[in-house]
Amino acid sequence: MQAIGLHGVDWAIILFYFAFIIGLGFYLKKYTKSEDDFFLAGRRNSSWVAGLAFLSANLGALELLGMTGNTFKYGMFVAHFYWIGAVPAMLFLGIFMMPFYYSGRIKSVPGYLKLRFDEKTRVLNGFSFALMTLLVSGINLYAMALVLHTFVGWNWDVSMWASAITVAVYVTLSGLMSAIFTEIIQFFLIWFGLFLVSILGIVEIGSLSEIMHRVPEAFSKLWSTSGDPTQNGMMVTWGGIVLGLGFVLSFGYWTTDFLVVQRAFSAKNLRSARMTPIIASFFKMAVPFIVIIAGLLALVLSKDPNSGFALMTDAGKTNYDSALPMLIARYFPRGLVGLGITALLAGFMAGQAGNISAFNTVWTYDIYHSVINRKASPKHLLWMGRVATVAGIIISVATAYWAKSMPTIMDYMQAIFSWVNAPLFATMLLGMFVKWITPNGAFWGLIAGMGSSFAMYLAVKFQWISTSLITFSKVASDMAANFWRAWWAWLICFVVTIVVSLFTKKKPDEELVGLVKGLTRETALEKPVWYKRPAFYAVLSLVIFVLLNIYFW
């Protein structure tokens, strides 16, 4: 059964979007002459452009559908992913880490590892990031086709190939610049296309407080039920939320994942680069006004027998991801339906473009130029970036078909994230703030962190060990286990890096200038008037973050 029917005007809106972004790719190609233009968008973006792209690279359609469905299952606890699971890390990146990233004029996160540590650490991270990015890209492509097939009734192959070819065309033409342009367009389409669901839902129910009043009490609280895992739907304690999600997973993703950090590298100067994640943090805090309200709304409506609202079911099992599409079908007349579907499509395709543009950069600089062809000219690297784009899309499509034939690989998605990002955050933190950390310490710390994360995942999945050994509680959801596994992987990487560094040769101080705290000239940091300083906006963001947590405590 499909949820949403399309009219001619809906098709016109969807086709206009496809034509528009391909046209944009051709327009931007005129301005893509050098490798810097292709891989770093010419380093000409303002903090607003880079900031909205930074946020949008993460704001995919799968996340919107999944988090709305999770809110239906877990309630307000899902807001932790947007607040404590994002904001502190984004502010930390902008205030403390960005000067080290940006001052080195590096082109990628593995590029920083090369300067701070050595080539082998860079290649290890380059390969693991490239592998993770292509897997995620392919699985997202599969999920997109599945969503469009389920909710709109589109042919699986046609929707996958149409979006893959469109992304391949515009990213090949103009690289990161076109990826960033489409991410910003996606940002506006998502807000205009989906926020109306929340508005109409509030109008139907009466008020936001009435929605909160009608859901179970534990579903409307953020922290007050986190002391006892049996009292909240996510079955997680505040310790798991703070250490696993708020610290390791969040900092690991937002401060080291090249997919998002690349947007800050495209900023025109250091101040704009520092402002990039800080501006994004304000909008990140606002996303729950789409997903949380929609999820709670779906819950309230489904409990009311007179509403006529129900989630879709697949073979008797509730499809939680259908919450948002079912609300679109409930409220949106023709025209608006086209906008809602286009918003989801834009989310999918911009996410795909983000993955591919990050992959082509890491492949070209950190694998091809570093390992295969060290003498490549800038013109050759630009060519290689375009080849990597097409190859990346083809591998993504192949991965999507693989996922289709073996849907269980979807279960490995979370494992992939904590496998790469959680240990890398320990490496980055020590690398940027402790000057005696050595190249061998970083390399073996990363190996230990990545290996232990993967081993813990397999041990729990195949029941070689009890989950409670990792989570410190007798009950725990898969999500709680993910939080805790990330924490342990981070800790193992952190400890091994320190221990190995104590016994191995460190780099001379003069090679670390600009890369490590204490060896960076403070004069390099700009000091504008107080109300233009990134720190001022970071404090403002932090105040809003604290108020939101207190209000929904």
């Binding site: 301005y31 000409r44 506006f188 025209g335 608006l336």
Partner: protein, 74 residues
């Protein structure tokens, strides 16, 4: 930048174009449905959300376009 002699329009201009065209389409069809009395089975259809939301989108797009029609970036 020496390689980019011709100046590029900022992204905000293109945001304006896409919002105006999509908003205009939604506003137009929703207004037609309202005037022609086309029946809609959606909840709150009596509020004609397509008319005011499409209108708002179109207006926002127009403002983005107007502010950036002559703007360019290096």
């Amino acid at each position: 930048m020496a390689t980019n002699v011709k100046k590029m329009k900022p992204i905000w201009f293109f945001v304006g174009v896409i919002l105006q065209v999509m908003g205009g389409l939604i506003f137009g069809i929703s207004l037609y449905d309202w005037i022609a009395g086309v029946e809609s089975r959606t909840v709150l259809a009596n509020l004609h959300p397509g008319v005011w939301w499409g209108g708002l989108m179109s207006l926002a797009g127009f403002v983005f376009e107007l502010k950036n029609i002559n703007a360019s970036i290096e």
